[in-house]
């Protein structure tokens, strides 16, 4: 992405060089190792990667809800619609730029989040109506009756009859609960919606329904979306741009075409090879061999090197720099050093 785009006002979310480390007595877990991520207003950005790549931690950093023992990013800045969420102090440390009260008013109002597991995301002892209304009451100056009215409206919007607002979460199925969670997230018309694997816990038919609904709502309200997933199919359906995350770094970034048709990074390619091919049902799946490196003990060079079929000597010792292959497409891989164009991997 060229630099002049940064200066325009249609950037919703701008993450620069974000680092999150979880320090415990024995080790330092490097969850996120310097990522950059930008979402323009009204756009949907996909964040793909395996479990443990740091996707959820990225999302929680935006909300300033990074769990113990880190509790805040180690370095980097996050800007939300022109407002700094974190800044760097004189010592070079990342510090929250706002007070806890400010973060509270941003959460739910400007940035809302849909969590992965709808079965546990709702509080079992409050009615779903109350839980949606709570969000409304926190951010809008309305009384309980008005907030409940809004909650019923939201339920209708996600396809649940308004009269079910007085039911408790255990009276809903998984797919219905996820709709409730989505209704809750959208209740205050957030400008940025973070969807953390919103369909992973649902079965396939419900997945399609929920995605369809999310897409409709996004287009209706012009919401920017950060779509976290490990499902490339969802990316293809929903997203404008894609960042592929591996071991806390974004190894490839581009628009849908760049990623799907001009795959560059061996890891991204591995992700595609792990998908079943509907045209050739006899074709064997080629899973990526090995496992993600332990984030407490990352390799010195490229983190993907031990699993990479194209690994070279340099990969073991030198971490690859980010290389822009086109205006919209960048990759972190030594294969593209010296401006080599390896169009067919």
């Amino acid at each position: 992405m060229s630099n002049d785009m940064n200066k325009t006002n249609d950037v919703m979310l701008d993450i620069k060089n974000l680092v999150v480390e979880f320090k415990t007595e024995d080790e330092t877990v490097q969850a996120i190792n310097g990522i950059d991520l930008k979402i323009n207003k009204g756009k949907t950005h996909g964040l793909v990667g395996e479990t443990g790549a740091g996707k959820t931690t990225t999302a929680l950093s935006i909300l300033n809800l990074v769990p113990f023992p880190a509790e805040k990013p180690t370095a980097g800045t996050i800007e939300l619609d022109g407002v700094h969420l974190y800044k760097t102090n004189e010592k070079g440390e990342c510090v929250p730029a706002l007070t806890e009260k400010d973060y509270q008013s941003i959460r739910g109002e400007k940035v809302a989040m849909i969590f992965q597991d709808p079965m546990t995301a709702l509080n079992p002892i409050f009615t779903v109506g109350d839980q949606i209304a709570e969000s409304v009451r926190l951010h809008q100056n309305v009384d309980q009756a008005k907030a409940m009215e809004r909650a019923r409206e939201m339920l209708e919007l996600v396809g649940i009859p308004a009269k079910r607002a007085d039911d408790y979460p255990h009276q809903f199925s998984g797919g219905m609960k996820q709709r409730v969670v989505i209704a809750m997230a959208l209740a205050c018309n957030p400008s940025l919606l973070i969807a953390d694997e919103p369909t992973t816990a649902l079965d396939v038919t419900i997945q399609a329904q929920v995605l369809e609904m999310m897409r409709g709502l996004r287009d209706k309200f012009g919401t920017s979306v950060l779509m976290i997933t490990h499902d490339l199919g969802i990316i293809a359906e929903m997203c404008d741009e894609v960042s592929v995350m591996y071991a806390g770094r974004i190894v490839e970034y581009g628009n849908l075409e760049d990623i799907f048709d001009n795959t560059r990074h061996p890891y991204t390619q591995g992700l595609f090879n792990s998908l079943p091919n509907i045209e050739d049902r006899k074709a064997e799946l080629k899973p990526i061999r090995g496992l993600m490196p332990n984030p407490a003990d990352l390799p010195k060079g490229c983190a993907f090197c031990p699993r990479c079929d194209y690994a070279m000597e340099i990969c073991k010792t030198v971490r690859p720099e980010r290389k822009w292959l086109s205006e919209t497409h960048c990759v972190e891989c030594h294969l593209y050093d010296d401006g080599k164009d390896v169009s067919k991997l």
């Binding site: 969590f115 546990t120 709702l122 509080n123 709570e134 969000s135």
Partner: protein, 302 residues
């Protein structure tokens, strides 16, 4: 609840029936004639078969008669009803104090996890669950009555004389509910729905006390309910140690005198009280957790 009480009576009745020793000999003294002994036995009804005795007893119980004390020769209810208020007052007070202190302590320990306060509370609770009631009572008495002389060691009708027995009796429950509350609070605080609440802008305070506490209190109520049996069992030791004329004391005295009807009367009272508390616990569950309420409603329709 009623079947439970009847089963308890059956057990106690059976055990007392099998214990050796002749109550009639105790009642009449050493120089009673064999004829008199035989007459008294028949009058008491202890020559009947066990099951007949038991059936008669239960039948009388439903009409409010606990039988005649073999020691005083008067109705058991007389002494029992005199003793009950002391035990109820003491047990409920102990439970109340235990709950009022333990739940905030457990919450505090969980919220300030791994802090000095957490360690202090945890160690205190550990001592509490492992120290036997009679020992705690004796130690408190040594310290507060004999050592500092600030509180009376025996019951004398003043509120001050309730302090030590209440602490002693509630100590175990205080400790175990604190531990339960701490661990369930820790679990709930890391639950997904707390994160959801935080993500929609709920303050830390409200997430802890509105969203987490009500969920985390359920295991504590269970433990408190289960512990109530132990608590009231402790009354036997405590009322003896602190010389309180309650049911526990009456029970001990009556066992020594082989006064079976009084012992059973005491046991009936204790089992009724434990059952009532457990019933209240169940109702409280339904009040707090809509899932349990739904189960009850569904069960009722069958």
């Amino acid at each position: 609840m009623i079947p439970v009480v009847i089963a308890v009576i059956f057990l106690v009745y059976g055990i007392m029936h099998m214990t050796p020793g002749d109550p009639v000999a105790v009642m009449l003294g050493a120089d009673a004639t064999p004829e008199l002994i035989q007459e008294t036995r028949e009058a008491l009804g202890i020559t009947d078969p066990f099951l007949v005795q038991f059936a008669n007893y239960v039948k009388n119980l439903f009409t409010g008669h606990f039988g005649t004390s073999w020691y005083t020769g008067r109705d058991v209810s007389e002494r029992l009803f005199a003793a009950i208020p002391y035990t109820i007052k003491l047990s409920l007070l102990a439970m109340l104090v235990a709950l009022v202190l333990s739940i905030p302590m457990g919450v505090l320990a969980a919220v300030k996890h791994n802090s000095l306060g957490d360690y202090t509370i945890s160690i205190f609770a550990m001592i509490g669950v492992s120290a036997p009631t009679f020992w705690v009572g004796t130690m408190l008495m040594l310290l507060c009555s004999l050592g500092w002389g600030i509180l009376p060691s025996a019951y004398d009708g003043t509120w001050k004389s309730y302090v030590l027995p209440t602490i002693t009796q509630g100590f175990n429950m205080l400790a175990s509910v604190t531990r339960t509350q701490r661990s369930s609070m820790l679990e709930v605080l890391s639950a997904d729905y707390i994160r959801t609440a935080r993500a929609k802008g709920v303050s830390n305070f409200s997430a802890t006390y509105k969203h987490a506490l009500r969920n985390a209190i359920i295991p504590s109520i269970t433990v408190a309910g289960l512990n109530f049996g132990t608590l009231i069992g402790g009354a036997v030791a405590i009322e003896t140690v602190f010389a309180i004329p309650g049911v526990g004391r009456l029970m001990i005295d009556s066992i020594k005198l082989h006064d079976t009807p009084t012992v059973i009367g005491c046991m009936v009272f204790v089992s009724v009280m434990v059952s009532v508390i457990n019933l209240l616990v169940d109702l409280l569950y339904a009040l707090i957790d809509p899932r349990i309420k739904a189960q009850y409603l569904k069960g009722g329709k069958k």
